[in-house]
Symmetry: C2
Subunit: 196 residues, 2 copies
């Protein structure tokens, strides 16, 4: 009833994270209404990303240059690598502005359920990067079962490399109310308690 | 830090209804990750909509043909017009499959606050459509102050045309719990009560 072009647009929009059929419909309508100021610029921006953005062959980050601007930046600490699940985690680390080293993007986590094993995460590629200049690998996978299983696997996998393998500390998020935290987090925060 | 192309994409995505900066970031990442299966098809779908979809010169609907497929459909009732605020309302009416006539899209509602007066709604164009074959105009503007002000204005404006001007009934939405309804709706539903 809306014609095949709008129908197709709605169908693709409904596959975006956080958008269901209802919000896809609302977004499609908004785009048609804002043809010049939003729809056409968005089409152009998507094509530009599609044409220019590639996966960094060193770390797995997304950028329009390869190696990515982080890998190519001589001011970044060349002695420390942060291993992350995906580029979303890399972006989160960069936003926090607390890490000055470089990254290694796994592209997933070990998952028996989804059939993702060590070979799928390209750990050989990670090991190949440990050429002597790198002193520490921080595994910043999520604090979930799969994230921690992956972190422990990587720690074992790199055990004979003679470098420090560390993980992010668990605890109460800054600004986090205890009321809304699960027991596991509270337990981890208590066990890792520090004296003032 | 994500490069100018992804930055631009995030900025445009954050202007879509229901998406803030956080969800725009998440959507942008998903799109880059699904370049072949989602990003490029979406760019193509947007261009297709931009190239083909136009505003129906008769009713104001969006379609790839003008007059739109509803206006051009000889099986639709030619004696009744439904006046709606926008194409979103037209889509909602069509989904409900309860109206077999044709539409008239106002493109807005009267609003002193937003400076939208009668001339902005193209009511002359509506009046010009009332050529003798149309017996009734159903004003299906929203049940808000602006929607109802607009409906009453249109009823007055068409008072001398000798046709029936009606409005949608107010009442309890089907499946609606009384607990979550405002007093105005409950009052309207009580006043319009029907015997079983
Ligand atoms: Zn890189
Ligand atoms: Zn039409």
């Amino acid at each position: 009833m809306v014609g095949p072009e709008i129908e197709r647009l709605m169908q693709l929009l409904s596959r975006l994270p956080g958008l269901g059929p209802r919000s896809a419909r609302r977004v499609a309508l908004h785009l048609v209404e804002k043809r010049e100021t939003l729809l056409l610029p968005l089409a152009k921006a998507l094509s530009a990303v599609g044409d220019s953005v590639k996966t960094c062959s060193v770390c797995g980050n997304f950028d329009s240059v390869d190696p990515c601007s982080i890998c190519a930046d001589p001011r970044r600490d060349q002695t420390i690598l942060c291993v992350v699940e995906g580029v979303g985690s890399l972006w989160a680390m960069e936003r926090a502005s607390v890490f000055s080293g470089r990254y290694h993007v796994l592209g997933g986590l070990l998952s028996a359920l989804d059939g993702i094993g060590p070979d799928d995460l390209g750990l050989g590629r990670l090991r190949a990067r440990l050429d002597g200049s790198i002193r520490e690998v921080v595994v910043a996978t999520p604090a979930t079962v799969e994230g921690q299983t992956t972190a422990h696997y990587i720690a074992d996998f790199l055990a004979d490399c003679g470098i420090t393998v560390s993980g992010l500390a668990h605890g109460v998020p800054v600004g986090g109310e205890l009321d809304y935290l699960d027991d596991g987090t509270i337990g981890a925060a208590l066990r890792a308690r520090r004296s003032f």
